[in-house]
Symmetry: C2
Subunit: 250 residues, 2 copies
DNA sequence: GACCAGAGTTGATCTGAATCAATGCCCGAA
DNA sequence: TTCGGGCATTGATTCAGATCAACTCTGGTC
């Protein structure tokens, strides 16, 4: 169980939980929850109630905070950072089923065991609710339920796109699609795509090997479609060609 | 636009729509809705209101009733039969993202365009709601929303499993997983798996070619794990070996 | 700076599934 | 009964991406 401390920035002190190897104090991120994920659908009284119930947690890079197949006790809302969601086979083969960023909810599973694992890519802050409490909150605030349904619908659409990618696209089409998706996600119209994940993560997300991802990125660079910067960032140089490639027109 | 007629089995006549080449009269399936999909979560008043809003439609085999990318006007509940959901690339490559049977809801998309197409495998009966009306119904009956959230969560888990299959499993593992999934779905513990879809559908679902599906089924037969009956049914002869193969243990 | 470990790139070779091709099996129509 | 067309099976060959292997780059530590 993580350490507990209190927040210096709230009128009323709130619990904060720290997870990971380094246990340095962290601010309560109730304000983060308010600003980023919940306030758009529930009113202030709802937020107060949510904050009451949540325990803010800090997760360090590389740390796995949901274990695939483990008992599904909690429900999470990410307040900052990025996590990877994955499933694995007994022999170690892995499939990353998605990346979740600020504002996303995790742990919707109807079953009482998590259907996937989750690991922090960078330093992640998240709100942790017990599932029992979450259920009561949903009873009281139907608008919260609508918010979750919308998110689930969007994830379902993303999952269908990913199935098309994994089942029917070539390696080049997969990498091109991935870069464009990431750009959409980053909301950066200048064409700079931040890639906080390793080549291994990209490979496990696209159903390829590290070597194929690397070769394909090199090929895209030689073709003049992208420029590979330092520190895990890629610049898209020829958007239309990349889009044509991603959609299978080429 | 489909023909409209009235139902002989309701005290108050109800509209029925017929789609497809043969336009024979069909019973109103409000009772089907009541029995199979909605009554477990909403009360009788809710059902009356739902039935009021729905138009029952008959869809013939092979007919596509949701066009990928088309305007998302309606929301569907399947009252009998099986449909395939799919996405396609411009050059014709297809990925079937799932099969939906009795009781399933379709058309959840948040966007105003369908993200996938849907086609009837056999004769399908479904209730069609306008999305605007559906929204009002959800406002009135929060329990309906919970039902949809549960269904979406389950589909999300299925989608994640499918991503693992498409990204990381071999052809043999894919076919074995598919047969076991279908058996779960059919709820037939005797090990007989009905396959209402063609080899082409199976291939498009598993990210393989027709030939590979056929070869793999023949291999499973030679290995004694299955027996291939007539008329699209398969008998599972060695469940434990098939399960080991499906989960990648072999 | 020197060292080291992990991440990434590039080349050579192999292989599982795709592709190309031929044949068999139904089943409905004439 | 024969014919024809869609679906399925099986065989031969090809190829995209995996695997195996060598090497380079980077960033952190001493």
């Amino acid at each position: 169980m993580p350490d507990q401390t209190t927040c210096q920035f709230e009128a009323r002190p709130r619990r904060i939980a720290l997870a990971g190897a380094h246990r340095s104090p962290e601010y309560c991120l109730t304000c983060g929850v308010r600003a980023r994920s919940v306030c758009s659908v529930v009113d202030d009284a709802d937020i107060a109630r949510l904050a009451e119930t949540a325990v803010e947690t800090l997760v360090l890079p590389g740390r796995c905070f949901i274990e695939e197949g483990g008992p599904a006790t909690d429900f999470f809302n990410i307040t900052s950072g990025t996590v990877k969601l994955f499933k694995a086979l007994p022999d170690g083969r892995r499939q990353i089923t998605g990346f979740a960023g600020t504002g996303h909810f995790l742990g919707l599973a109807v079953s009482d065991h998590y259907a996937f694992g989750a690991e922090a890519l960078d330093t992640v802050r998240l709100c942790r609710f017990s599932r029992a409490r979450m259920r009561h909150l949903l009873d009281d605030f139907p608008r919260m339920e609508r918010r979750l349904l919308e998110e689930a619908s969007n994830e379902l659409v993303a999952a269908q796109n990913q199935m098309l990618l994994l089942g029917r696209k070539t390696a080049r089409e997969r990498v091109a699609s991935f870069l464009l998706d990431r750009m959409q996600d980053a909301l950066d119209p200048t064409g700079v795509v931040p890639l906080p994940m390793t080549r291994a993560d990209i490979a496990d997300y696209l159903g390829l090997t590290i070597e194929t991802v690397s070769r394909t990125l090199s090929w895209l660079r030689r073709e003049g479609m992208i420029a590979i910067g330092k520190g895990h960032a890629i610049h898209i140089a020829a958007m239309p060609r990349l889009e044509a490639l991603a959609s299978g027109d080429a």
